[in-house]
């Protein structure tokens, strides 16, 4: 029962909540949590229509699958047909794509109900979800009882960031307005906010999920990310979304159709690696303590737990930045105001129009990366920066391969350095500095294309979530999630429950089943 999530309980039992009722409750919740600024666009009418269709199917006994009627949210850098898609940028403020991203289409085909497009850092550049054209996203845990009680903070002036860049998606799942959300992960943009918002955040193997329709940041590292409230939910969604897409030439066939995760995964057969280079400066005491705690849990259960080395880790973040900026400069070249998006009024010549459109449309984070990216790509610099970074990228990938081929099945690391920062503290440093600091544990997996997942393990002294990360070899996403579920089953992370969503009977039942109740 502890492996099940609450929505499964709702929908499977007769007389429980119907899709339209669930949809209305979620829409209501979105209205009540507007202060979180998690959504850029709420697709209210469409959601109700979809919910009604799901309801009809359920009544006839022909649900499309486990996600039929389930509310979901999508980060605003995924194209949604006829629904505004902004990437939290003035450049695409009023842009409406004529097609759905493949992963969005797959969810819609399963009957899932789209609640809206979530807020983010502009064009996915950032680690706080604070630098978007529609304002910052607020962490729902900053408004929950533990934070308030333990820090005596005023939630409105001491509000806490979600992390980024998929902060809106993480907040949506954490605040119960959606049961699953899509994010994107290029250097940790799904795992980072997932960890800070206490939800499960999966970055699948590169190429397993189609990027068709995901407005790119770094084509060679981007993956669609999955955020859910339990590991099992993430596995279900992965099974639906994975697979070859002819429209994305970088996709690979799924290794096997994902079957259900084993109920009782036996860790005696596995070896967990602890990379020593991940004891990074700035790692909080509490996060370190959680890391040790879970490592001990593995050891006590009979798993082999070993210290390993990934010697090139220290170079990873720098190389990531060089390659990221270079690709950004290239990917942003299409935003010129000519075919779509914002177009400047200054049009005395094509050059003037291009320059002013791009100046007006992009924030300074985006512009900064374009400038440095173009610098790295200059003929005279290319070998020295871009090619060098690619070579080091190969070394980083080799580090992982070496460790995984010497008997290690998964790596256990922190996801973030600390729990979520207050906005006023977070913004003391600029976007570039924060990104460099916060992505330390997450971006190597993107450099190597490996699957990684963040699992919430405990609340910090401040009452905010701490998560740990698992990294597995390429295409071992199922193993990764099996191990993640094992952790989830044993750490007792409090479940967020909305007192409005459940009847008092359910509330009592949940309490008796060992769920900790946090109300938001």
């Amino acid at each position: 029962l502890t492996g099940r999530n609450l929505w499964q309980m709702h929908l499977l039992r007769p007389g429980r909540i119907s899709p339209t009722e669930l949809c209305r409750k979620c829409l209501n919740r979105i209205r009540k949590t507007q202060h979180l600024n998690a959504y850029i666009t709420v697709t209210e009418e469409r959601a109700l229509e979809q919910a009604q269709q799901a309801e009809r199917r359920l009544q006839r006994g022909v649900p499309k699958g486990p996600l039929d009627g389930i509310p979901f949210a999508v980060k605003d850098n995924f194209c949604t047909e006829n629904i505004r898609t902004t990437c939290a940028s003035r450049m695409l403020k009023d842009y409406t794509p004529p097609y759905n991203a493949t992963v969005v289409q797959k969810l819609l085909d399963q009957g899932a109900v789209l609640m809206g497009k979530t807020n983010m850092d502009e064009f996915a550049m950032g680690a706080g979800s604070t630098d978007g054209a529609f304002g910052a996203v607020k962490n729902p845990w900053g408004y929950a009882a533990p934070y308030g009680e333990r820090t005596r903070a005023d939630p409105d002036s001491d509000w806490v960031v979600t992390g980024g860049s998929s902060g809106g998606s993480a907040a949506a799942v954490a605040s119960l307005t959606s049961y699953l959300a899509l994010g994107s992960d290029t250097g940790g943009s799904t795992r980072n906010p997932g960890s800070l918002c206490g939800v499960v955040a999966l970055k699948p193997t590169y190429g397993l999920l189609s990027r068709h329709g995901l407005i790119p940041l770094v084509n060679s590292m981007d993956v669609p990310g999955i955020m859910t409230r339990s590991v099992n939910d993430a596995a279900i969604v992965l099974g639906i979304l994975q697979g070859l897409d002819v429209r994305d030439s970088t996709t690979v066939p799924a290794p096997s159709s994902l079957t259900e995760l084993p109920e009782d995964f036996d860790v005696k057969n596995i070896c967990v690696g602890i990379p020593k280079e991940y004891h990074a400066p700035g790692l909080s005491e509490e996060t370190l303590a959680q890391w040790s705690r879970v490592a001990d849990l593995f050891e006590e259960a009979g798993a082999r737990v070993e210290q390993v080395s990934l010697p090139h880790t220290q170079y990873s973040i720098v190389c990531y930045h060089v390659l990221c900026h270079a690709e950004v400069a290239s990917n942003m070249a299409r935003f010129d105001g000519l075919e779509y998006g914002h177009r400047s009024q200054m049009d005395s010549s094509t050059e003037v129009m291009y320059a002013s459109t791009r100046h007006e449309g992009f924030n300074d984070v985006v512009r900064g990366r374009i400038l440095s990216g173009n610098y790295f790509l200059l003929k005279r610099n290319y070998q020295h920066y871009f090619v060098k970074a690619q070579k080091v990228r190969r070394l980083i990938t080799n580090d992982f391969q070496h460790v995984f081929s010497s008997g290690v099945d998964v790596l256990l690391t922190p996801t973030t350095l600390t729990d979520a920062a207050r906005y006023r503290d977070f913004t003391q440093e600029d976007n570039r500095t924060r990104s460099a600091q916060e992505d330390v544990f997450t971006q190597p997996a993107n450099m190597a294309g490996l699957p990684a997942v963040s699992v919430p393990t405990a609340l910090s002294r401040r009452g905010l979530p701490i998560g740990l990360q698992l990294i597995a070899p390429a295409l071992q996403d199922q193993t990764l999630l099996s191990v993640a579920q094992w952790i989830e089953q044993r750490v007792g992370f409090p479940s967020i429950v909305s007192t409005q969503m459940l009847s008092s009977l359910d509330l009592l039942q949940s309490l008796s089943e060992g769920f900790h109740i946090i109300s938001i």
């Binding site: 990027r211 030439s249 290239s330 299409r334």
Partner: protein, 490 residues
């Protein structure tokens, strides 16, 4: 020893691939469609769209590479070439800069040279490489309304860029090389090769130097819309550079546009210094892997998902050079005739059709086709398929001549009349205008007698023959006339 300045010419050729859809998207490829009606989301650079490689375009590049004796790279890579221009929606072009699909080929072409321009001279030009890349859209400048109109129909169409090394020395050579390339591409079906429709675009790199000395500064000549203009533009540019140097000046490294009206090359607008294209690997396209043969395919790979070089090699059609040799062998015609036949669209088919319906020897037919027919077509700027005289009609005319019904000079007259009255057969015209050869001995005797009597003392045989032919309007059988006159004047 003092050497004269000579020209050095290299060519950069963009050949539009003859495929039904574009290089990386499923939008159709068509000439002259309504503006922006053949544009997919990817072609318009809508965010989130990705390139998907067109198999037919890869096959076309391999075919072309094989036909030009290139080494086909089993692995080739795609890159982004960045620059901002209104007809380039993504702000970059996908091309193959690092590792193109084919390299190190040779194009053999022929020139008709010598005093009588009937000697076939064979020359070679090295093909440095062939790369696949996207075409750009088109921009039209409307100065009246101070606006630029962009049509993206052409954006993303597949191109093969062929780079020819500077092995040529003048306009005639370049023109002949391009002509041969055109014939090859058309025979392969990989490009329709029409320069005026932009299917084949040629830029010339021209410099001058003294043989033995290093190459001179080169200029790039663009805006050349036909093979004829190509030759003229190059020759003009070579002469211009020679003039500059002989005046003591220096040649600038610049881009010049050919102006067909004046016949000159003029400097194009300065490109604000050297462009840095910031080349970067295209991250959305894995390396393109080609397989040698079916045996080398990895297990589990679907044969229709890959390009196998052996299969393409086996499927190559007959190339122009092979065709020329075959015609010489089969019909015993001269190489320069074969050259002319293959050079003209549809002429080989015409020739062979005539041969089917006449007993006349090919060597006797060829002159009619390459001189009479082609001459008339050229005069009126017509193509072979527009000829008012069909192969069977010509064959009939030749039969009449062969069987002695008309003389050779009359045959030429009848040809002209047939040309002007399409539909009328040679026989009809001959009968209507009473052009048949006069073989009636009695009639000939009397005419000859008449001529001999009125010719005075001097009895030069050829003159007498000429007079008889004049009298008979060329219809007298010359063999008989000669015999009769000889008797009468002996």
């Amino acid at each position: 020893m003092f050497f004269q300045l000579v020209g050095v010419v290299g060519l950069e050729i963009h050949a539009q691939i003859n495929s039904s859809t574009k290089l990386f998207s499923g939008a159709p490829v068509r000439f002259s469609a309504p503006p922006n009606s053949l544009v997919s989301f990817f072609d318009a650079s809508l965010p989130g769209t990705l390139p998907v490689l067109n198999k037919r375009c890869v096959e076309a590049a391999v075919m072309t590479g094989l036909a030009l004796n290139c080494a086909i790279n089993r692995k080739s890579l795609f890159d982004r070439k960045h620059y901002f221009y209104a007809d380039l929606p993504a702000g970059y072009q996908i091309t193959q800069q690092r590792l193109p699909i084919a390299v190190d080929g040779v194009l053999t072409y022929s020139l008709l040279g010598g005093k009588k321009r009937n000697q076939v001279m064979r020359k070679n030009v090295t093909i440095k490489q062939i790369q696949l890349e996207q075409d750009s859209g088109k921009s039209l400048h409307d100065d009246v309304r101070s606006q630029t109109l962009i049509d993206l129909n052409r954006a993303g169409v597949g191109l093969m860029e062929l780079v020819m090394e500077p092995d040529m020395s003048c306009g005639e050579e370049a023109a002949a090389a391009v002509r041969e390339l055109q014939l090859i591409l058309q025979a392969l079906g990989t490009c329709q090769g029409n320069m005026s429709e932009g299917q084949l675009r040629v830029d010339a790199n021209v410099s001058v130097h003294r043989p033995g000395e290093p190459l001179g500064v080169r200029t790039e000549v663009k805006n050349i819309n036909s093979i004829r203009y190509l030759a003229r533009a190059i020759d003009y540019e070579i002469q211009r550079q020679i003039d500059v140097l002989q005046r003591g000046g220096t040649v600038q490294n610049e881009t010049r546009a050919y102006d067909s009206k004046s016949g000159e090359t003029l400097p194009m607008r300065d490109k604000e210094g050297l462009q840095d294209y910031r080349f970067m690997p295209e991250p959305n396209l894995p390396p393109l892997i080609l397989y040698e043969d079916n045996a080398s395919l990895p297990t589990g790979i679907d044969a229709c998902q890959v390009v196998v070089v052996q299969k393409i090699k086996e499927g190559l059609p007959e190339l122009p050079s092979v065709k020329r040799d075959r015609l010489v062998q089969t019909y015993g015609i001269l190489p320069e005739h074969s050259f002319t036949l293959v050079n003209e669209d549809g002429l080989v088919d015409y020739f062979e059709a005539v041969l089917k319906t006449t007993k006349k020897e090919p060597r006797k037919v060829i002159g009619w086709v390459t001189n009479e027919l082609l001459g008339h077509l050229k005069q009126e700027d017509m193509s072979v398929c527009q000829s008012p005289i069909s192969p069977s009609a010509l064959a009939e005319l030749l039969e009449l001549q062969e069987t002695g019904h008309i003389s050779s000079s009359v045959a030429k007259q009848v040809f002209q009349k047939m040309w002007r009255s399409p539909g009328k057969t040679a026989l009809q015209i001959t009968q209507e205008q009473d052009l048949g050869l006069v073989s009636d001995t009695a009639q000939l005797h009397s005419i000859c007698q008449k001529v001999v009597d009125s010719s005075g003392n001097k009895k030069v045989l050829n003159k007498l023959m000429g007079l008889v032919q004049k009298e008979t309007k060329g219809r007298a059988d010359p063999v008989l006339v000669r015999a009769i006159l000889q008797k009468k004047t002996s």
